[in-house]
């Protein structure tokens, strides 16, 4: 199988990786980099469990080839916290009981992360529309929506301080 070299920034660090032309980004992250926080729920772009941020935007890593990520900056769930300090989204998902089995959680949080970057003050409808790409079978969505809204508030408060 033909291989090629790519250079990607993953969670703040540049990596030189060798991948095949068929390798999906999700597999490179999970298998090659050991970043198993990103989950696969369908492999077909339908569930959002594999959502990561690529150059600040939410993308489905199961639908992307690794070669398409050459030169890009990627952020996964593992790159959110700062040492032991959780990111406000992570804290809000916990305090709002937005996590049950947790399988959809990394994707949800990364979707929320890209949203807040783009729109620091989203309303409930915007959050619901954004999270509509992420299936969750446990929570019923109410709490994840609340958690993203709360995190956005918290992040605005922090930047204003």
């Amino acid at each position: 199988m033909k291989k090629t070299d790519i250079r990607v920034n993953i969670n703040g660090e540049w990596h030189d990786l060798t991948v095949t032309l068929q390798d999906r980004l999700i597999d490179t992250l999970r298998d090659q980099m050991g970043l198993t926080g990103t989950k696969e729920g369908c492999g077909e772009g339908e569930c959002g469990a594999c959502t990561i941020n690529l150059n600040g935007k939410a993308v489905l890593s199961c639908l992307m080839l690794s070669v398409q990520a050459d030169g890009a900056e990627i952020q996964t769930i593992e790159g959110l916290q700062n040492g032991l300090d959780l990111h406000p989204l992570q804290t809000a998902f916990l305090s709002e009981s937005a996590v049950q089995c947790g399988y959809c959680t990394p994707g949800m949080i990364m979707a929320g992360h890209a949203l807040i970057k783009q729109d620091p003050d989203p309303d409930e409808k915007t959050v619901k529309t954004c999270l509509a790409n992420n299936l969750c079978r446990c929570t019923g969505y109410e709490q994840p929506v609340k958690a993203v809204l709360k995190a956005a508030r918290e992040m605005r408060r922090k930047t204003n301080d």
Binding site: G37, G102, Y103, L131, G140
Partner: protein
């Protein structure tokens, strides 16, 4: 025990939350071991066929293929824990014999060094099938005598029971309502596909299996039995699990055996994972049922008789088909004190994907039919449905004739009154729909579901608690947590009794080497059954702590209290010792003692208490398009005691959304045994933009046999949603729907019928 709890009743955050929000939680799909092989299954393209020959030679020659196991050489496994009691090996779910019974039924498994090699190898196998006549319709399965899906025929199970005298019951009735209901083939669709497991068999005869099973200890039993190993050599570890809802206590056991067999053949770790499509098309679903129900009532609203006939379709194989149909009966009869009740159920095999356990376990089907009947009767006699329910429900103190136990707690009346008040039931229900094309309606439905399965099934729960020398504790329980939060709840129960802080309890991983016998997580049982074992283990440890403390404080243990990290004399709190000091002394400092306090408990729960719920659904129906919008659910559930209210609410809200899916969008569609919608585009789960407001209301009836009064919640929260929605649609439009799921077409058809008179 006093009423002012310090830990119980408080909404602590889940103990595994940080792992989940940081991406460090490892699910079975995330596991990878040195030298690991990848396994997969070759599946039948035929709905019903005899496998006459399997040629694996080309696959076996492929470099990287390490083991091939066909249905001719794998060990067989019992399929359902009920059958663990017998030595007979019942029909199992796959690789059972040389007949394939649904499209997707596996014929062989291969283990290879990479996923690519595995795929190539599977494509190189040639299988000769002799197609047999397939049966897709359960009604045909019932009559067909020439085609037999299993040796014993097409009928898997039959039950007939009569309580009272059904004919007399109908004689006493002023009105009789009879309808036939159909329910859909709903899929669990947990976000982590069902069917991932890693098995590692070592040359020393030790087998370790990582499986997202709901029943780790029963997995261990199946594995030992199938592979002829002693139980102590089999270790089952349950990693984090991406939702279960009943989907991980049936077919998954066949998978564990298969994977372990391949590992034993190769002496290498083997990982098997199903794709989403395999999850949809070849793992269990909810049983589709046809339910004929004939109900009689007096003008005054006394239900005098109910006659129920169910035809349940279990597909090509059966796992929980007996339990599921039995639960239709027990939940139907248990809820209302209808003096004359006849129940007959038949379960048949068809050449479709198999059915099994699924949140609600027969109850959502039964509840849809029975609660629709109740609504029809209330309308016909001109009575408020709530009044009809209050008149007929089986109250506290009465006997449950199926479970043969007295009802010790029933908060249904409170659920009804609180829910009705909160949603404005009376006003909304008495409103006429008006002339707009968008019609508003409100519907009500109630439910009863059992907690656990004590005495009905082998249903053990156990726990051990070890107190450390710094006053913290380790709790060992095999309660499998698939996201409900039961391990957090169990930690709260332990902390409350031990008088220590919640954060000072650490709950072990579920690992059969260290966590004692527990039948697993099913039947809404962990807060109750698991909770009782943890309560008793903590009491055991506490008793031992008090005995030591008594010696040091110079009083008898019964004079002591334990709270907030201290043990003190009830009448003289100044005479105290901190738990930490006491543990330090007896474990380390006092070399004449050196004892670790270990508490343990094991056994079954004293009862199978019912928990109750009332759901008020508000809908808007567009009579032009047939579109139904659920505006709000007010869901009141009696959980005995909410050990962790936020977690209870999580179950009510999550179950509510799953219930709306069951009512309106979900169901596998089959054509000649082919599943037409094995993906999330065509099988529609609700998404965040579709959700209505859900108002959870917790009612606490204080179950006397429960730990701190607790009973279940997990399954019940989806049971009576579809019926409440259907009743609301009827209130809005006059259309009575009898088929799930309720599509636009069905509503438009119903409206047309009304128009044409």
């Amino acid at each position: 025990m006093t009423d002012s709890y310090t830990v119980v009743g408080k909404s602590f955050q889940r103990i595994d939350g940080i792992d989940k929000v940081t991406g460090t939680a490892r699910y079975a799909t995330d596991l990878k071991f040195e030298n690991m092989l990848y396994a997969g299954l070759l599946r039948s393209p035929h709905a019903h066929a005899r496998v006459s020959r399997i040629d694996t030679s080309a696959a076996q020659k492929l470099p990287g293929v390490k083991a091939v196991a066909t249905l001719f050489d794998v060990p067989k496994v019992v399929q359902y824990w009920f059958f663990l009691r017998t030595e007979k090996k019942k029909e199992q779910m796959f690789l059972y014999d040389n007949i394939v019974r649904f499209i997707g039924d596996p014929v062989l498994a291969i283990a290879a060094t990479s996923v690519d090699t595995l795929k190539k190898a599977l494509s190189l196998v040639s299988v000769e099938y002799e197609p047999l006549k397939a049966i897709h319709d359960p009604n045909i399965a019932l009559k067909e005598t020439e085609v037999s899906i299993h040796k014993k025929g097409n009928i898997a199970f039959k039950v007939n029971k009569e309580f009272g005298n059904i004919q007399e019951g109908f004689k006493a009735a002023d009105i009789i309502v009879e309808n036939t209901y159909h329910t859909s083939k709903q899929k669990h669709a947990g976000m982590e596909p069902i069917g991932t497991c890693v098995a590692s068999f070592q040359s020393n005869g030790r087998l370790t299996v990582y499986s997202s099973t709901q029943l780790p200890h029963w997995s261990r039993h199946y594995l030992a039995k199938a592979l002829d190993l002693s139980l102590n050599r089999v270790r089952v570890i349950k990693p984090f699990t991406g939702g279960a809802f009943g989907g991980r206590c049936g077919v998954i056991h066949g998978l564990e055996v298969m994977t372990s067999y391949l590992s034993r053949e190769t002496l290498r770790p083997v990982k098997m994972s199903f794709t989403r499509e395999e999850d949809f098309s070849a793992t269990e679903t909810r049983h589709p049922m046809t339910i004929r129900m004939k109900t009689g009532a007096t003008k005054e609203g006394i239900i005098t008789a109910n006659e129920v006939e169910i035809l349940s379709d279990t597909g090509g194989y059966g796992t929980h088909y007996i339990g599921v149909i039995a639960d239709c009966m027990s939940t139907g009869i248990g809820l209302y004190k209808i003096p004359n009740y006849s129940f007959s159920g038949i379960v048949v095999y068809t050449n479709k994907s198999m059915c099994g356990a699924f949140r609600g376990y027969g109850n959502p089907q039964m509840n849809f039919a029975q609660e629709s009947q109740m609504d029809i009767i209330a309308r016909e006699i001109g009575m408020d449905p709530m009044a009809l329910k209050l008149k007929n429900y089986r109250e506290e103190g009465e006997m449950d004739p199926v479970l043969n136990q007295r009802i010790l707690s029933n908060g249904l009346e409170e659920c009804l009154t609180k829910g009705a008040r909160s949603c404005g039931w009376e006003e909304k229900r008495s409103k006429l729909p008006g002339n707009d094309s968008i019609k508003k309606g409100i519907g009500l439905s109630i439910m009863l579901h059992g907690t656990g399965a004590a005495r009905a099934l082998p249903d053990p729960a156990s726990a051990t608690i070890m107190i450390n020398s710094d006053g913290t504790a380790n709790l060992h329980t095999a309660a499998a947590d698939e996201g409900q939060g039961n391990r957090t709840v169990l930690a709260q129960i332990a902390a409350e009794i031990l008088g220590i802080e919640f954060k000072d309890i650490l709950v072990s991983e579920t690992d059969t080497d260290i966590t004692p016998l527990d039948c697993g997580t099913h039947g809404s049982r962990q807060a109750y059954c698991g909770g009782l074992s943890v309560r008793d283990a903590a009491m055991d440890a506490r008793k031992k702590m008090l005995a030591h403390a008594g010696k040091r404080l110079m009083v008898t243990p019964d004079q002591l209290m334990i709270k907030n990290g201290r043990i003190f004399e009830k009448t003289n709190p100044e005479n105290y010792i901190s738990i930490k000091d006491l543990m330090q002394k007896i474990q380390i400092r006092d070399m004449g003692v050196c004892e670790q306090i270990i508490g343990s408990a094991s056994g079954i729960a004293p009862a199978m208490p019912g928990y109750y719920g009332a759901v008020f659904a508000e809908v808007e129906v567009n009579t032009q398009t047939g579109e139904v919008k659920v505006i709000k659910l007010t869901s009141a559930y009696d959980v005995g005691k909410a050990i962790n209210p936020e977690m209870v609410k999580g179950q009510i809200v999550g179950g509510g959304i799953m219930g709306i899916g069951y009512a309106l969008t979900e169901g596998l569609q089959l054509e000649d045994g082919h599943i037409l919608n094995p993906n999330f585009t065509d099988y529609r789960l609700l998404r965040s933009c579709d959700i209505p407001k859900i108002e959870p209301i917790i009612v606490e009836s204080n179950e006397p046999t429960g730990p701190f009064g607790a009973k279940g919640i997990g399954e019940g929260s989806m049971v009576n949603i579809a019926s409440a929605i259907s009743n609301a649609i009827c209130h809005a439009t006059g259309v009575r729907l009898t088929d799930l799921c309720i599509t636009l077409e069905k509503i438009l058809q119903g409206l047309k019928k009304i128009k044409c008179g």
